[in-house]
Symmetry: C2
Subunit: 207 residues, 2 copies
């Protein structure tokens, strides 16, 4: 009993909730949706988690961590700027490709309910403590790159990748695209974005 044998049921609820919340959002999800997706009785969601809200927070915190952890990890790598930027783009792209609803879900839930971003302080600290900021200043002082604040560069990187997937449904609808056609487009766009950003950073003296 100690090391709960209910892990199975609890984890099944978590997985079902993760899927349904990501797909429909908090407001669009009902307790019965989750129970049905998990193949369990409705009452069990409130037996393991105490309410729909508490279950959501648990899932949301997990997804927020997934959303950030990889990026922070790369920011602290002891590698060159050019390589680091490429890695940041590639990682973000892969994360979005593997979890197409993640970004719009996170943005939407925070937009509608900002206090859900409870770990904001944690994210800020991790970003401030990273090597990235100092690395940018050093390279700029040496004249290797254009001088730019870390925040602007980060927003640049994630904007160009994440918006692709935020607007995916719209693109597919407007351009009569198949999933494969969109993937191909997104891949090409990723390459262009890497070019554009590195070009902006490194090829600034040619003017």
């Amino acid at each position: 009993m100690r090391c709960s044998p209910s892990k199975n049921t609890e984890e099944r609820i978590r997985e079902a909730a993760r899927q349904v919340f990501l797909e429909k959002g908090f407001d669009g999800t009902t307790s019965r949706d989750i129970a049905e997706a998990a193949g369990i009785n409705i009452a069990l969601t409130n037996y393991y988690f105490r309410s729909k809200e508490k279950l959501f927070i648990s899932i949301f915190d997990e997804l927020i961590q997934l959303f950030f952890e990889g990026m922070f990890c790369i920011l602290n790598k002891p590698i060159g700027l050019r390589e680091k930027i490429t890695e940041l783009v590639e990682h973000d792209f892969q994360l979005m490709k593997s979890n197409p609803s993640l970004c719009i879900f996170v943005m939407n839930e925070i937009h509608r309910n900002p206090e859900r971003m409870a770990n904001a302080v944690e994210a800020r600290k991790q970003f401030q403590q990273s090597v990235f900021d100092e690395q940018l200043r050093r390279e700029a002082a040496l004249g290797h790159i254009r001088s730019i604040e870390a925040m602007h560069l980060m927003v640049m990187i994630v904007s160009n990748i994440q918006f692709l997937f935020i607007s995916k449904a719209m693109h597919i609808r407007i351009w009569h695209m198949s999933e494969e056609a969109f993937d191909a487009f997104a891949n090409r766009h990723k390459g262009i974005v890497i070019d554009m950003i590195t070009n902006y950073l490194f090829a600034f003296e040619s003017v």
Copy 2:
């Protein structure tokens, strides 16, 4: 009686619905929310519009048009590319600044319910018939700019602007920003984005 004297009430409902839907999304909005915001009886929303869904579609179509019309207008202007790109960025920025919830609302509703993008064909036609595509090819053939598909360039422009406002709530939360601080950041970022994109397009031979 002919030319309905109820225009007042109907428009009051529309305005209230627009505000509440933008703020809370379709799922998060109740009929009573709208009635209360409009200061009218609940039954009136179904008297003028036949259901919550029909009222939403009416508002949504109006917002989709607001979302696109300005952009299409600029795309067809008889002006140079550099100026056109700057105008596209500035217009998008102003639109997002005036309607901070518009973008995430549109993206979210289409993501959750793609068939709501009923006017997709219309948007595609307007884009395809615009001068922009041809303009890009001409300038590229003349060697004035780097060769790039119109779609990639458009996505570039809107990504960098719209994502700013999609992630606004998150930024404000993470960085303890005031509205004013965010506005200042966004303004600086807009300038950087214009530099980056024009630099990518026009300064490509310096390599």
